[in-house]
Chain length 353, copies 3
């Protein structure tokens, strides 16, 4: 049985297969309309996320399956002190596959270790959100016709934006991809993510200006710049407008450039941009549904179900994980395990050895 | 593509067609049991309303379709600052039709302007709630056999009760309808609604007494008198019992009179009235489901989908809408538009020119 | 039309029939996969309970039916002051059967009295939770092959644990059943429940030790010992570890003994016990789903639907029920009725005559 906890759980070959499957589903809805008849998806959202939850539910329904679940933890047994693993094991008796979102990092891994059914990580705190990255990849593929030889601008909060980190990790596996990193100084890509780029030998430039490289971009991936990230309101006020996309800033962009955004947006893309053909973010949400459909079909396919799980493993560690948002600090009887890089296998934070 | 934002979006001919369709559905459940196979309704409730939400969901399920959505804004992206139009556009990629309730006036119109799929207004603040009126109309039609030549008593809060205003607007289009307006002085029908009656040349009388015209009524439409509406508790205490319907007050009523109520009731109709054949309010909720079924079928019919939208439009206005509950005061980049009557097209409040 | 409010609403013969039906469903899923096509279950949870709600929903979906409902009262009309009976009567127009959980004792009975469709009590405060007991009975039956001639250990909070009381009431109807009552002094079985055992002539022993009779038990039913139940933290700290089940405490248990728990657990069973074959509590949740499937099939069967309801009845009582959690103290126009034992028919508390 396979799970999807991190986008890198999937090989490039598997990603290609999922993309091809998603395209086939888009082209032949009727062919897939009953493929999940009699099957159930449990959508367990320990923290709210409408878009992601509805996307999963729509995906399962369009395949002929059914859904159940909850949309916030207050409606769940978690409020009574039940551990995530118990909830998942119980729900595994009610559904064929589980999509879960949880505020704690590593929650999906702890769940997968005990689950009787495949787990899809629909977001575990700031850690991973692989189905968003699948949506991003399908969108780039459908809009640009390829995943290689692309210049990708990443704009906004590159420090905390997990979708950005995840997209980098996925895209560096394709040839000829380069990045333009557009952010205020306070929200630059963190050192470990820069290391990923360097080790992969990927070209990138760093800029403060959304417009400087606009004319060269194939893809512009926008994210939100949040006030809370700045040390002072003055710092925030100084830069905020620079990272708001308007029709004017788009003037120099190629007609084939595409604008992506994980949504929800607040004001980082003007509504005046919405009707521009280059605005791909609403199509991106439909692609998210298509990739989730592909993923459901894939993980429940007999040959994939019979594969062994590929879960992160590690050795026992004598101490606590320093990350307060790590699942190990919040669940009963869940010991920290350390991987070969000296990191907690759940949240991937470095452990002091 | 047509939407239903206000009951007056429908012509009398269309209303008749919907009523006939609802009657046919009631009589031939099996014929309609798979008409929505493979289709999805999104029920987006930015504020809770069990009855309306469950009625829509039951309607879609009985037609063979499926449902998804949320039951309060805290479970939705709205909590993250997303605008209504974005939510609706995204959900339009997940569902074939959307029923939405929102606390702000004009929210449904702002949504319909951007939506890829038909929008049904399931209540936008105190502004409109057209499917309640459809339920009322079907109930009168089924119970009385006609919509014309009826004397209709409206009792309770005629000042703020939007169901009452909406019912008046719908019923004055039928011949020979007259009204008995029964309320305390504090909760009389507002001047603009009286104007509607006068302009239409419709007969009406005003009374403080629930019993005065009881013997003449064909329909008695009850609503709740809320304490908060009164300037003092003394004023409230003085009148409240007068507007509570009891078996005693019904003694003089015709055997063919029917009692309607939009529900939920608190104490304005005694439970002792429930078993009276004239109590139609529980049948009314079933009629609400039937009309929602008819509406779903109608709006998704090919010939109706190919019609152009008939949305309110207006000219740009240099200023804000004074109504604090207007959607324009709460959504980013949504400019006020003014119609030919000098009113905001979203909430219909008068704009100071 | 029959309802299920209390497990004793079912005769032993009916229980046997339900167990046989559940076993048949487990063995022939496909045979039952469309038996509820076109039918709807309303799951009305006036207080949250994930496990129970999802179990009911999964049950209905696996029978081919559909579900709707709410997962907490804040999303329901109850927040607007509607009485439970009105909600149930309205929802009876939207669904074929209702499963309801409510924080007040007797809420399900008050609902059943007015309902147009069968009511299943999914928990009414601390009063009854019959489908949990059905899950327990099926588990014992499937794991031990019988319901008679069993020695059953009940461990933990025997004072407040309604699942324990309900299990006792159900099991004493079978021959040769005996009990080991394992609890701290503060949480002993209450006198009225001891009376039940005595009157039925059932053997039992009382002990403070989880291990004393371990080697003799066929079933060990664990429940949680909550800090709030003790007069002081010292008292709690003194005993709490004694009632936590660990692999060590299991050393003397028979290989055929089975451990049950209504879940959610907090720490009363170590996760180290989970992989022991004797741990039946996760299978128990699947059995809960199976029994709910059987119950849905049973209550909607034509011959059962045509039976008269068997609701508790009583004479009018001149006064209030002293139980503050009784539904009669919280619903408008719901008079107290007293049964032949001098108890309130809703919550079964003794009424001072």
């Amino acid at each position: 049985m396979r799970h999807l906890l991190d986008v890198c759980d999937l090989s490039v070959k598997e990603l290609d297969e999922l993309i091809a499957l998603a395209e086939d589903i888009a082209a032949n809805k009727q062919k897939y309309a009953h493929i999940m008849d009699g099957k159930k998806l449990a959508a367990l959202f320990f923290e709210p996320s409408t878009r992601t939850r509805l996307s999963f539910e729509a995906a399962m329904l369009e395949l002929g399956g059914q859904t159940l679940g909850f949309s916030e933890a207050s409606s769940s047994s978690a409020a009574k002190g039940e551990c995530v693993r118990d909830t998942i094991r119980v729900v595994g008796g009610y559904a064929d596959i589980i999509a879960m979102r949880h505020p704690l990092e590593g929650a999906a891994l702890s769940a997968a270790m005990k689950s009787y059914v495949p787990i899809i990580n629909a977001g575990d705190g700031g850690h991973c959100h692989p189905t968003q990255t699948l949506a991003d990849l399908l969108t780039i593929h459908r809009e640009e016709g390829r995943l290689d030889h692309l210049k990708i601008g990443l704009c906004g909060d590159l420090l905390y934006g997990r979708t950005v980190h995840s997209l980098i990790n996925a895209m560096i596996r394709y040839e000829g991809v380069s990045f333009v990193l557009i952010s205020p100084r306070e929200l630059e890509l963190p050192p470990y993510a820069l290391d990923v780029l360097k080790r992969a030998g990927v070209n990138y430039v760093v800029t403060r200006s959304l417009e400087e490289f606009m004319s060269e971009l194939d893809v512009l991936y926008m994210t939100r710049v949040q006030r809370e990230r700045f040390s002072s309101i003055e710092e925030y006020e100084k830069v905020k407008d620079c990272y708001i996309l308007t029709p004017e800033k788009l003037l120099s962009a190629k007609p084939t450039m595409r604008i992506l955004h994980p949504l929800p947006r607040v004001n980082e893309i003007s509504q005046l941009v919405d009707d521009d053909k280059r605005a791909a973010y609403f199509r991106q949400t439909v692609n998210g549904k298509l990739m989730r459909m592909a993923l459901l079909v894939y993980l429940l396919r007999d040959d994939v179900r019979s594969q062994p799980a590929r879960l992160a493993s590690g050795k026992s560690y004598d101490g606590k994980c320093q990350n307060p948002k790590c699942i190990t600090n919040n669940e009963r009887e869940l010991p920290v395990l350390v991987n070969e890089q000296g990191r907690c296998i759940y949240c991937e934070h470095e452990l002091k050895m």
